[in-house]
């Protein structure tokens, strides 16, 4: 059922709009999942896909009680649809269809979420083996990370978490603040974590691309999770191949009219040569599945 959400918080983090939406009836999302959202008084015909940035649906504050479903989105204003969303104010209504698609867990990148609790979990079972979890985000691709950090805090990540985020400039890098809580929780759960930032203009963090940073110390047994523009995803996959990393997952972005498999608008050609619907088989796909394993010519 399409749901109606109420904007509970609306603020800008750098150039991006950060919306917290209360959505009665929302079932709870996994990181990497998305929703089709649209301002209630929209001049757009179609909804637009946005990653669930954070989701406090299933968090028990005290045993047995739940938060009201409260779902966050991070919106980069690139056109009319995103512009309308970015202009929303508290109490405005939003139409929501979701959660949709395969998130990181369903795609096999992280173990499926157990029932999470707000308190630090006693133990969890990760799939990360010996390697680190390396999370790579570009620009508004940072969106799904808060929920992702929530999920991994309940796993045992022996070698820790490395977050690499690339931005155009220090202005975009302000969006990093949406990770503060999650990183703090990792610390409390004693999961070693490190953050590396790049900006294209060097105005914050390392000057350059996020792939430069990744290239420096990627290890073959690392697990890499990637959210960002297509070009960045492909570049990251190249770096992964070069370093012998096979465990890499990518959240793909294509044009989506429906988000549920009806329109065949969102297809992309995947490694097996077929055109596949990203909204159904993705948006999270393994690197080999999406881009294939041919040797790079570089």
């Amino acid at each position: 059922m399409r749901l109606v959400g109420r904007v509970a918080e609306a603020a800008f983090v750098g150039p991006y709009a950060h919306l917290a939406v209360e959505i009665p009836g929302w079932k709870g999302a996994q990181s990497g999942q998305f929703a089709m959202i649209q301002a209630a008084e929209s001049r757009c015909f179609l909804a637009r896909p946005f990653s669930v940035s954070d989701d406090e649906t299933h968090i028990e504050t005290t045993p047995g009680t739940h938060h009201a479903a409260r779902v966050s989105f991070l919106v980069d204003e690139v056109g009319r649809g995103s512009g309308e969303l970015a202009a929303l104010r508290v109490d405005d209504r939003v139409h929501v269809l979701g959660p949709l698609g395969r998130g990181f867990a369903a795609a096999g990148a992280v173990a499926p979420a157990a029932r999470r609790t707000a308190a630090c979990p006693a133990a969890g079972v990760g799939r990360g083996g010996a390697g680190r979890l390396v999370i790579v985000a570009g620009g508004a691709g940072i969106a799904p990370l808060p929920l992702l950090l929530r999920e991994i805090e309940s796993r045992l990540i022996r070698s820790g978490v490395l977050v690499l985020a690339g931005f155009r400039s220090s202005r975009e890098a302000q969006a990093l603040c949406i990770l503060d809580d999650g990183l703090e929780r990792l610390r409390r759960c004693r999961i070693p974590s490190e953050v590396g930032i790049t900006t294209e203009d060097g105005s914050f963090g390392f000057a350059g691309m996020v792939t430069d940073l990744l290239d420096r110390d990627l290890q073959p047994d690392d697990t890499v999770l990637v959210c960002g523009p297509s070009a960045m995803c492909e570049a990251v996959w190249k770096v992964c191949r070069r370093h012998g990393v096979r465990r890499a997952w990518f959240s793909l972005e294509t044009l989506m009219a429906c988000g549920v498999g009806s329109c065949h608008g969102c297809v992309t050609r995947v490694a097996d040569g077929t055109l596949t619907r990203v909204c159904r088989r993705g948006p999270v796909m393994a690197g080999e599945e999406a881009f294939g394993a041919e040797e790079e010519t570089t």
Partner: protein, 320 residues
Amino acid sequence: MSSRLHTHLGPMFLEYPVINASGTLDLLETADALGLDGDYRVPVAAYVPKTVTMLPREGNPTPRVAEVAAGMVNSIGLPNEGVKAFVADTLPRLLNLTCPLIVNVAGFSRDEYVSVVERVSRALADELGSDKGTWAPRVGIELNVSCPNVDSGCMSIGTDAEEIARLTQAVRDVWPTPLLLAVKLTPNVTDIASMALAAEEAGASAVSLVNTFKGLIVDRDTLKPYLGGITGGLSGPAIKPLALRCVFEVAAVVDIPIIGMGGIACTQDVVEFMACGASVVAVGAAGFVDPWLPARLAEELEEVLCERSLTLSELIGKIH
């Protein structure tokens, strides 16, 4: 839904007069995407899957969709698994749905249409038994002679009244009366009424109006055609006045039922299409925003009928 909405489409009983437009609702995928069980309440009174062709088709290059003022333009290009896989994998699942099924078929020649329908018939004989009379309430065929997004066949048939007649006749031979045979027409013609008449005279038991209007999107960056298929089909509220005119014109000349569609997004739209002469309406692209829209519109339609003290049959064709 209340008996006030009960209706028939040829030999098919429909719980309410709202279905989906082919290619705009994949019921199985949607149910799965939304984590619904297999036996959830289907949101349409009859289900029309995406067009099936003889051979599997990949569809057109990307981008395939773009939003425009009050609508969208698509150039999907009829991707589908082909009739062989369709009858083997999909058809049995669709026959398990709680609503009747209208299989939408296209081909690149008259023979191809006939072959696809024959394949479907054979599969149905396996599933439902060989007495075709018993199929009538459960399965129908819709001939898509109107897709603007493929190179040959299809729309070139739909713009030629004689071709429409020949095709309808040929399919009627393998898909006999009383089975539902709807012909889905293109509005990209000078005179859609003559196309509908041709279909009726050749034995169609319904006409579906309308498929999309041929349009073009310019890539705002490169100033080249934006869609992978170069041109595409416009649908959504933008085309509603044009689609209503088509239904109005066709209803004036044919006696078979009309499945009306084109921009339906709210209950008022349903009322208008039925007033123009549609017996049943189909929700197309507006269903992308809300897959439950058809059933919701039916519920609201019932309220409108009550408010206006109209029966369904009084509403149908009220404009004439």
